[in-house]
Amino acid sequence: MEGIIAIWQRDLTKFFRDRARLLGSFSMPILFLLIFGGGLSGTMETMMSGGFGEESSGFNYVEFVFPGIVAMTLLMTAIFSAMSVIEDKNYGYMKEILVSPISRVSIAVGKMLGAATVSTIQGVILFLLIPFLGLSYSIISLIQVIPFMFLLGAALSGVGLLFASMIKSTQGFQLIVQIIVMPMIFLSGALFPVSNMPGWLDVIVKLNPVTYGVDVMKKIMIDVDSLSQTVQETMGLHITVFGRTVSVFEEILFILAFAVVFVAIATISFKRAHA
């Protein structure tokens, strides 16, 4: 336990000390909010409204895309936080960790919780933009979504830890992550509904943990019940796997399982590593 806290606390201290990283990591989500929220919302709403005529007033694209962009921030921050594993190896600190009696599970869990905390903080800071985007989410829903953001951050950092255990240079890591992160965002329903995908893309969508993350976040943040059935359909809020609609509970379970599997893989990689 003590070891987990140590690893977690160290990553957090370093995060707050690195101002450039703190600011830099906001540029991307803000850019996306400007482009998608400001630039694309009119077009998207018109395109979508084709399907439901009179009811179109019920669909607000910015409201739809905001939870998606928060999820995207979680994904990017969580994965990039895992890069600290590579930095620790290159700067030698990993040796100090590996020769100590702290269990290898603690190292993996500590790194995962560190990344989850950092990404949740980044995500929550984005909430400050809500009034400027003309959105209104209930305070309760925002508070409810935070623990889930933490879980999602933890699960997604697992992907980062997996790559960090295989790649030796931070440059290589960044390259691979860019290649992986973009499809994970675009094929998740974060920016546009993914309900009408061709078969092979649909498989990727359904395997992508971000899909369920985005979906749960939307269901918590947006007052789904007030929307008409057609709007809900158009927003892609009913994800079906093998022809049956998955519940929020199942989605959370999937993300939890995802986190556990990846923490196990990370533990094995730390067991094998000899500095």
Partner: protein
């Protein structure tokens, strides 16, 4: 004295290369044990296996009564390691680095602060403890690493090339700290170094070459084993002098290196006065010395330590 480390028939084979070929040795509690060898001798492989960082192919390693293969965590808690390269977190302060170490090693919470201040005092970094490590000089970083290695009161402290890359002045200082530690805390030290004059402080040294331990004893005993004294001289005509020495005098060994003649004799006291009288060619330089660990190393491995 009891053995704190006991290594038996230890081997490590990489694919088809035998890096360590069945070595056996003991390190006694409280001693400074020097572990020497040229690059590629299998030193690092051996240390990594003792420190539980590498799995042995076969053999047994017992440290502080724990089995390094099975009781890894107990072994890890019993040892402190000062690596050759920097393993500090430079973005954190010295104090923060030490606090993290206490957590990794589960030092009791109520003792942490006191121990941190204690080790900082030993290495003279008490006043600089709240600076970030990136602002430290090379020597200060080394001292901090030594302080950190001591925090959890290890039974054995491994020092892997602790003075590499430091200037001579800092090196000398560092050894003062290390000796002070040995006297104060009685910690067993396992030391590797390229600087053989530094290895002289060891109670015993082991020389490893090509995966095997070829000599193990106290530095004095090893030097005595070589026997005799070494005389180094230059003359106005080395070749003629060499011929004269070989014809007229009783030496153990004669060698010419660069423009110096090296003589090994059984006792320089008896040899030197008659030698100077006998030699007709004028001597330009003369030096008489006892063998050093460098000579021991050269005699055992046929190489100098740095090649």
């Amino acid at each position: 004295m009891n053995s704190i480390i006991s290594v038996k028939d230890l081997t490590k084979t990489y694919k088809k290369v035998d890096a360590v070929k069945g070595i056996t040795f003991d390190v006694k509690e409280g001693e400074i044990f020097g572990f020497l060898g040229p690059n590629g001798a299998g030193k690092s492989t051996t240390i990594n296996m003792i420190c539980t960082m590498l799995k042995p192919t076969s053999g047994e390693i017992i440290i502080n009564d724990y089995d390094a293969k099975k009781q890894k965590d107990d072994v890890r808690a019993s040892i402190g390691i000062i690596f050759q390269e920097n393993t500090l977190d430079e973005k954190l302060t010295a104090n923060e680095n030490l606090k993290l170490h206490c957590r990794f090693y589960n030092v009791p919470k109520n003792k942490r602060d006191q121990r941190i201040q204690e080790v900082l005092e030993i290495v003279d970094l008490f006043d600089e403890q709240n600076q970030r490590v990136e602002e430290y000089s090379g020597g200060m970083k080394r001292r901090l690493e030594i302080a950190r290695g001591l925090l959890h009161y290890p039974k054995v402290l491994f020092l892997d090339e602790p003075t590499v890359g430091l200037d001579p002045n800092t090196r000398a200082h560092l050894w003062e700290y290390i000796l002070k530690l040995k006297e104060k805390e009685g910690i067993t030290m396992f030391l590797t170094t390229h600087y053989l004059d530094e290895a002289e402080i060891s109670d015993r040294v082991a020389i490893m070459d090509q995966g095997e331990i070829i000599a193990i004893d106290s530095p004095t005993a090893l030097k005595d084993q070589l026997g005799g004294d070494i005389i180094e001289l230059s003359t106005e005509d080395n070749e003629a002098a060499l011929k004269e020495i070989e014809d007229k005098m009783e030496t153990v060994e004669v060698k010419v290196e660069d423009d110096t003649i090296h003589l090994k004799v059984e006792s320089s006291d008896a040899f030197i006065s008659s030698f100077i009288k006998t030699l007709e060619i004028p001597i330009t330089k003369l030096n008489i010395r006892k063998p050093t660990l460098n000579d021991v190393f050269l005699a055992f491995t046929g190489r100098k330590i740095k090649e």
